[in-house]
């Protein structure tokens, strides 16, 4: 069911772990399936993401998107990181099964939550960033109910 890229990132997840005294930490849970993800960001004075780590309690897609998403924001500026949407992550992974689209939201939201934490600590405003919800409910998804 998963692409080779997903399987690769699931089998060898990049950036697993914690960062002590991280610049920002974000934890989000997915109301849909009960899965949880935590992202640690180490951001330098130029607002560049020097390092990133994650921990995930979730399905294969959740682990793989965490891994890919952390790879994609590493070394980027905050503004660039804001552009790493769940869509972009999915594309980088060669797609996800419809029922797994929501999993990729976990990664996006966890990064946003970590950035929010960073912004609060440093009292700055990041353009386009909204206060994270602790639980993600999403609107549309490829639900198979519509025949």
């Amino acid at each position: 069911m998963y692409s080779e890229k997903v399987m690769d990132h699931f089998e060898h997840p990049r950036n697993v772990g914690e960062i002590e005294n991280a610049s920002g930490v974000g934890t989000v849970g997915n109301a849909k399936c009960g899965d949880i993800m935590r992202i640690y960001l180490d951001i330098d004075e130029n607002q560049i993401i020097r390092d990133v780590k994650f921990k995930t309690f979730g399905c294969g897609a959740a682990v793989a998107t965490s891994s890919m998403a952390t790879e994609m924001v590493k070394g980027k500026t905050i503004q660039e990181a804001m552009e790493v949407t769940n869509k972009a992550v999915m594309e980088a992974l060669d797609g996800l099964p419809p029922v797994k689209v929501h999993c990729s939201l976990l990664a996006e939201e966890a990064i946003h939550a970590a950035l929010w934490d960073y912004a609060e600590k440093h009292d700055i405003k990041i353009e386009g960033l909204e206060k994270p919800k602790s639980d993600i409910h999403e609107g549309e998804e490829a639900e198979e109910e519509e025949y």
């Binding site: 921990k55 979730g58 099964p97 929501h102 198979e144």
Partner: protein
């Protein structure tokens, strides 16, 4: 992948080679429609009745009380919907449990929308129906009690005889979904006062797409699938002769070696359970310790998510299943594990291993050794686990 250890025999089983062998002539040689006049095809009618005989004998029924369906789900739908329909003038209340298969639960929900009242009984922490609850749930309008013989996830065997007696005393029909129990446990419909029973071929080394429905003489339910006069006018559709031969052959085979087969499975299963409980921390066994299907083990590992576990096991050639059923279109944690009182995140980390007679203790060693590593690895990755 070189090694393949299939430990998901509750999901489906390999069709036994001798079953396939028995089916083969009915595809290309004796392919005739059993309703035909000419002898070439009419002989198939006799063949079908022989299979009915085999199955009837296994459960202490009469030959003409056995009907063939398209699978366990169809049998379950038939039992519930058509009982509801046929006995609606007697009442509109049906009793079932919270841990039934979806083929029962979703059918019951459908009936609820159509004016029937359904009581979904709680179960205890082992997954057993509480007989006092059952008695208390009975109303003058109760027309049917449907309780599964044994659970597909946690393996717990229900006190079917006692439930049957209660139903019988109250003059209420009793249906049991025996899809997991048939061929694994001895069943006697008279002793247990069973009025209807569902079974499915592919769960006991028969083919997929063929099921059994037992209907006691006198139970007045009608067709679920209308049309031709097959199956004594109760189930239309050209008979699936190869499928029926397959399910009959598989039933005969299952009955013949039931005792020794399940004795071995029990021993290997207990070895598995003991090793896992002893060697993996933060782990529990789900379902009753002894009143469980001979081949079923179901564990919960705290801080671990089910699908990830399954994929990691798959990478080691181990086929297993989880209660989370993420991929089967539903993301909810198992309703069965929630019903026995597990919290959401623990229900999420469950693992079902269901054996067959070919699984040896060495295989179990391979599984447990890998499982230990995988669980440790996933816990390291888990934000919930603080070592």
């Amino acid at each position: 992948m070189s090694k393949l250890l299939y430990l998901d025999n509750a999901a489906t089983t390999k069709t036994a080679p001798e079953v396939v062998e028995a089916m083969l002539p009915y595809f290309t040689e004796k392919f005739g429609n059993p309703s035909s006049v000419y002898s070439f095809a009419a002989a198939n009618k006799e063949v079908i009745n022989q299979q009915r005989d085999t199955i009837a004998e296994m459960i202490g029924a009469k030959t003409n009380e056995i009907y063939f369906t398209g699978g366990g789900s169809e049998s379950d739908n038939w039992a519930l919907k058509c009982t509801a329909e046929a006995y609606a003038n007697k009442g509109n209340h049906i009793i079932t449990t919270k841990i039934e298969h979806h083929a029962i639960l979703h059918t019951a929900e459908y009936l609820e929308k159509r004016g029937f009242e359904i009581t979904y009984l709680d179960v205890d922490e082992d997954g057993k129906v509480k007989l006092d609850d059952l008695k208390a749930a009975i109303r003058p309008t109760t027309i049917l009690i449907s309780v599964m013989f044994a659970n597909n996830e946690i393996g717990t065997i229900q006190p079917i005889k006692e439930i049957g007696e209660i139903a019988h005393e109250h003059g209420i029909l009793f249906h049991t979904d025996a899809v997991q129990a048939f061929g694994q446990l001895p069943i006697n419909v008279d002793e247990c006062h069973i009025d209807m029973l569902s079974a499915s071929g592919h769960k006991f080394n028969g083919p997929k797409g063929i099921g059994i429905m037992y209907i006691r003489t006198g139970v007045k339910i009608r067709s679920f699938i209308h049309g031709g006069a097959q199956e004594r006018k109760r189930r239309a559709g050209t008979e699936n002769v190869p499928g029926i031969v397959g399910i009959g052959t598989a039933a005969k085979r299952a009955a013949a070696n039931m005792e020794e087969r399940t004795a071995k499975e029990r021993e290997v299963r207990d070895y598995l359970i003991d090793r896992v409980l002893n060697e993996i921390p933060y782990c529990r066994l789900n379902g009753h310790r002894t009143d469980r299907l001979p081949n079923n083990a179901n564990f919960s590992f705290q801080f671990v998510e089910g699908e990830s576990l399954l994929i990691k096991l798959d990478m080691k050639g181990i086929c297993a299943s989880s209660g989370s059923a993420c991929t089967s279109g539903s993301l909810d944690p198992s309703h069965v594990l929630l019903a026995i009182g597990l919290p959401h995140e623990i229900a999420h980390g469950s693992l079902r291993l269901t054996l067959n007679e070919e699984i040896e203790k060495e295989d179990i060693d391979y599984v447990v050794d890998n499982l230990k590593e995988i669980v440790a690895h996933l816990r390291e990755m888990s934000p919930l686990y603080e070592d």
